[in-house]
């Protein structure tokens, strides 16, 4: 019924790297948008965690403004951490991950696409919502620029490093909390430099040094993480 030719060993039926990359991004975004929740939830978690602190600590503006950068960044860390579970777990559970590993493309390209899609859905929205929460926490007025910039450069690092942790734990039944043990220590440098940049900016001092380091972290993890992730995936699906 289908007009097929004789089978051949071939290397032609293959997408370009760019097409494969776009295909995965498109798919992951489709799935995320299918449930709108996937996009709203990290934001809402972020908002709730940030609002827990005034409730737990008390409403004094001076204390809050003192601790605002730390709280916003810790909340960003945690909300990324929570959303990481979606990155490979569901694909592993229904066998799609296996299929991706078997596809005729370098695994790191597919992995990179998945990480970027994850960041678009969970990291990017944080950057837009953070200034509003900063107002609630009486963040110093000089610090908004630094807050946005550190989030813009820092959240991709969180997604990239987090992906390594998820890839290592994806085959393990209850990886949920193990994941945080693996990933949170890796997040600490980002946390320290980012909050330090914001604190410096509050004193109206230049914070380009810290920003440069975060940028360096970003490029380092962008180039190295996809390889670590694909190696880890091969191990944990074995």
């Amino acid at each position: 019924m289908l007009n097929k030719k004789v089978m051949t060993i071939t290397s032609s039926n293959k997408l370009s790297y760019r097409d494969a990359f776009m295909l995965i991004i498109k798919r992951d975004l489709t799935i995320a948008f299918r449930h709108r929740d996937d996009i709203l939830n990290p934001i809402i978690f972020f908002i709730i965690v940030v609002t827990l602190f005034p409730l737990g600590i008390g409403p004094e503006a001076s204390t809050l403004s003192r601790i605002a950068p730390g709280i916003i960044w810790v909340a960003a860390l945690l909300s990324t951490l929570l959303s990481l579970d979606n990155l490979f777990k569901s694909d592993h559970n229904d066998g799609s991950l296996e299929q991706m590993l078997l596809s005729p493309h370098p695994v790191f390209i597919l992995v990179l696409a998945k990480i970027i899609a994850h960041w678009l859905v969970t990291g990017l929205p944080l950057i837009f919502i953070a200034p509003i929460l900063a107002v609630l926490l009486h963040l110093n007025e000089n610090s908004y620029g630094a807050l946005m910039l550190t989030l813009l450069l820092g959240t991709p690092v969180l997604s990239l490093l987090g992906a390594i942790g998820v890839a290592l734990t994806v085959g393990i039944k209850k990886g949920g909390v193990l994941l945080s043990l693996l990933v949170l220590p890796l997040y600490i440098p980002v946390l320290i430099f980012a909050t330090s940049a914001i604190d410096t900016s509050a004193m109206n001092l230049p914070y380009s040094g810290q920003l440069a380091i975060i940028a360096a972290l970003f490029f380092a993890s962008l180039t190295l993480a996809p390889f670590a992730v694909s190696a880890a995936l091969k191990v944990s699906t074995n």
């Binding site: 490093l161 390594i164 393990i172 693996l182 220590p185 600490i188 320290i192 191990v235």
Partner: protein
Amino acid sequence: MWKWLHPYANPEVTYHFTGKILPWFVALTVITLSTGLVWALLFAPADYQQGDSFRIFYIHVPAASLSMGIYVGMAVAAFCSLIWQLKLADASAAAMAPVGAVFTAIALLTGSAWGKPMWGTWWIWDARLTSELILLFLYLGVIALHNAFEDKNLAGRAASILTLVGVINIPIIKYSVEWWNTLHQGSTVSKLGKPSMTIDMLWPFIFCFLGFALLVTTIICIRFRTEILARNSIRPWVRNLVILENK
């Protein structure tokens, strides 16, 4: 360069070889460590500023530096296991992780016990202390990952990846914590600089340091042998060995 390693890369040979040298290590450890500790507790002079609390020094510093040294060793082993697929490197990395974690914990605990009389607090968020704490987390992560996989070989590879990512992280943490800290307050307390020790303090320290280092080697050796058995449990030589010992 790897040629000379080859005979020892055979698990059976390594197992028997380590079995032969182990008693010597045990004896050396006992001698050195007991000498060092007795010297440190009884004969070393008290510090003129810190008094007898200085005796904590003799375990704190060896433990702290070994905790870092073991991580470096583990990272080297992890690297070898990933690049050259040396299963023995894998086993040695697995043997090192718990030992390193315990020494990190000892460094933290003894440091705290020293900090309370010296600084008036058990803990401050000082650069060195904080990075040591994070080192403990890294160790725990590696151990947890080892335990999470049933298949020892897979566990080894996964943990190797994590160890290497962590080793890149360690200098960053150390550096970042220092910088972060100096921004808020000068770290005045802990930067004693290298204490120019008198010779009667130096000798017990050297003995303690050597003793702890030997102890680490001994324990790692025992655990290494366990790991070898675990990874080769279907090999005939392991089976025969077990049968022989059970008789």
